[in-house]
Amino acid sequence: MASWEHFSHGSDIGVRGFGNTVEEAFEEAALALTAIVADVSRVGQGETVEVHCDAPDLELLLVSWLNAIIYEMAVRTMLFSKFRVVISGCSLTGTLLGEEVDPERHRVAVEAKGATVTALRVVHNHDGQWVAECVVDV
């Protein structure tokens, strides 16, 4: 089942996405990323942004994906609350749906500086579920 959670890191915060497919796990990890920055349930989906990234393996692709979102959040001063991911080999095309930041309405907490390779893991569990996780520096 698709879902996300945060996990503890000494000074920062970890994101973990679960999904029936690797794409779904990446989408959920992205929701966990937005939830670091703001209350994801309060973020609208009026604008669409496309991103593309590549990496040598699936784990680094997760880091590249999250960093692509962090970049779009920063340069557009936007937050995103819906994600669609298509992965082909080690290339990813993502669609981000969101809106401009409104600090009060979105109940913002902290900026994300970058996704890291710390506690980085993309695995297909025995129960068939995908897990995608890493620590995000805030």
Binding site: E111, K113, G114, T118
Partner: protein
């Protein structure tokens, strides 16, 4: 941390003896309680750093060390380029040249008290802080490159500060050898609207009172007396530095030095093309941080001049605590040029160091230790002993004792702000959740950290500061 894995060399010095692939020992400076509370990951990460090529003397952890990115936060490690030494993006950190600067207002607590609320509001309205905040300065591509070469000097030439500020900033306010051409277009774009912004998380702008003086003679050289009011600014290189960290971490994971025990230790040989590109980009990001703190200083001076025009606001000092600097140190009787990583650690030159300005050379470098809203900060001074102990380094702050996730569950921002108000601390923020995540109780005791640094002879306490106003991102 499991003490059985350490050899205790003195009350405040603990060794991880070199085993396996370790080229040097790991050395942790801390008291018994701080060691017991320290994350096991610090031992693991210090052990890994000690395996990297070209490392000299030891991999060090300061009393506030905690789990970082490959290198522990609160970590110090020096590498010799002629011995195959490496440079690591994780060993510098994502917020390149994040640091603290402290200004002396020339006011006393009594003089500030009647204008405190007005000043808090003026600072909050003039200094952009928090998620989505943008600065008023827009730079063309050419101006951005000039800023990346010039640092605080660039800012002062454009009117954001005073020429005399420069001698109170490490390296005279400008990291030489910056290469804007090694900074990606994305990094520059990310910075486009962020010049002169504070950021969020543990960054802050505080008005503080000198609450205790430990060494009045050195305090006098720093211009500090009991009940004086100072301003401290904690922030870094903003989006540009974060993107440089992101870009080069990925490049080092893919094309960096091999073998490494864990890919979060991604690094590059200093003399490789990638290593040299990172050095040039990191120095550019350092200049971005120095320019940013300089612009914020200018905004702070503007707020004061509108509310308390008598304030002097001379710069006491500016330290960066996420850096890799080229420094000369004596190794086996020979002076060597080393690349000294300090991730969450402060350079702490002792008395007589030639790189200190004449006005500070006799006593040593001010070492600014940031606390968290509602708790103390410290001004310390570098010692002569610190050179041999840890390449002239000391701690940088309290360090977290509780994760953000736990903190936001345990505390409520609004309630915390009210409680701090009762204690005489005015908080200005747009984010209650951000305040909860930064709750004073989520950090280690900064006094214990400063005391441990003093007992370990890394730095000496000069004054203790308590906050009166805190602007949080």
């Amino acid at each position: 941390m499991n003490r059985k894995s350490l050899t205790r060399r003195s009350d405040f010095e603990w060794w991880i003896e070199p085993t396996g692939q370790m080229r040097v020992p790991g050395i942790i400076y801390a008291g018994e309680q701080l060691i017991e509370d320290m994350d096991e990951k610090v031992r693991e990460q210090l052990t890994n750093v000690a395996t990297l090529p070209g490392i000299r003397r030891a991999a060090y952890a300061m009393p506030d060390a905690h789990w970082g990115y490959g290198f522990p936060i609160g970590g110090v490690a020096a590498f010799d380029p002629d011995e195959g030494g490496v440079i690591s993006a994780g060993g510098v950190g994502f917020d390149i040249s994040c640091g603290v600067r402290t200004l002396h207002t020339g006011l006393t607590a009594d003089q500030l008290e009647p204008r405190k609320v007005e000043l808090a509001d003026a600072l909050f309205s003039r200094v952009p802080a928090g998620v989505g905040s943008t600065g008023a300065i827009r730079l063309s591509e050419e101006e951005m490159d000039e800023m990346l070469r010039g640092g605080a000097n660039w800012a002062i030439v454009r009117g954001y500060g005073r020429p005399e500020d420069l001698e109170r900033i490490e390296e005279g306010g400008c990291a030489s050898g910056a290469k804007p051409e090694c900074v990606s277009h994305q990094a520059k774009k990310r910075q486009a609207r962020e010049m002169g912004t504070l950021g969020s998380g543990n960054h802050y702008l505080e008005i503080q009172r000198v609450a205790e003086v430990f060494d009045s003679a050195t305090a006098a050289v720093f211009g500090l007396r009991l009940n004086d009011i100072v301003v401290s600014i904690h922030c870094g290189s903003r989006g540009l530095g974060h993107q440089v960290g992101t870009d080069y971490l990925k490049a080092m994971v893919i094309d960096g030095y091999r073998p490494i025990p864990d890919r979060e230790l991604a690094c590059a040989s200093i003399n490789s093309e990638l290593g040299q590109h990172y050095v040039g980009a990191m120095r550019a990001a350092t200049n971005c941080a120095l320019a940013n703190r300089q612009i914020i200083t200018h905004l702070v001076r503007g707020a004061f001049s509108a509310v308390v025009p008598d304030a002097k606001l001379a710069l006491l000092y500016d330290v960066s605590h996420n850096t890799c600097k080229i420094e000369r140190h004596v190794i086996n009787g020979e002076s060597r040029e080393l690349f000294v990583h300090r991730k969450g650690a402060t350079r702490a030159f002792g008395p007589g160091h030639p790189d200190l300005p004449p006005s500070l050379r006799e006593v040593g470098q001010p070492v600014l230790i940031g606390g968290t809203m509602g708790t103390e900060s410290h001004v310390m001074v570098g010692t002569g002993e610190s050179e041999d102990l840890a390449f002239s380094s000391a701690c940088h702050g309290a360090g977290r004792s509780m994760s953000r996730t736990q903190a936001s569950k345990k505390w409520q921002g609004r309630k915390l702000i009210d409680e701090l108000y009762e204690k005489g601390v005015l908080i200005r923020t747009r984010s209650f959740r951000g305040v909860a995540e930064e709750a004073p109780g989520a950090y280690k005791d900064v006094n214990a950290v400063a005391e441990a640094a003093e007992h370990a002879k890394l730095a000496r306490r000069i004054v203790r500061l308590v906050p009166l106003i805190c602007v949080k991102g």
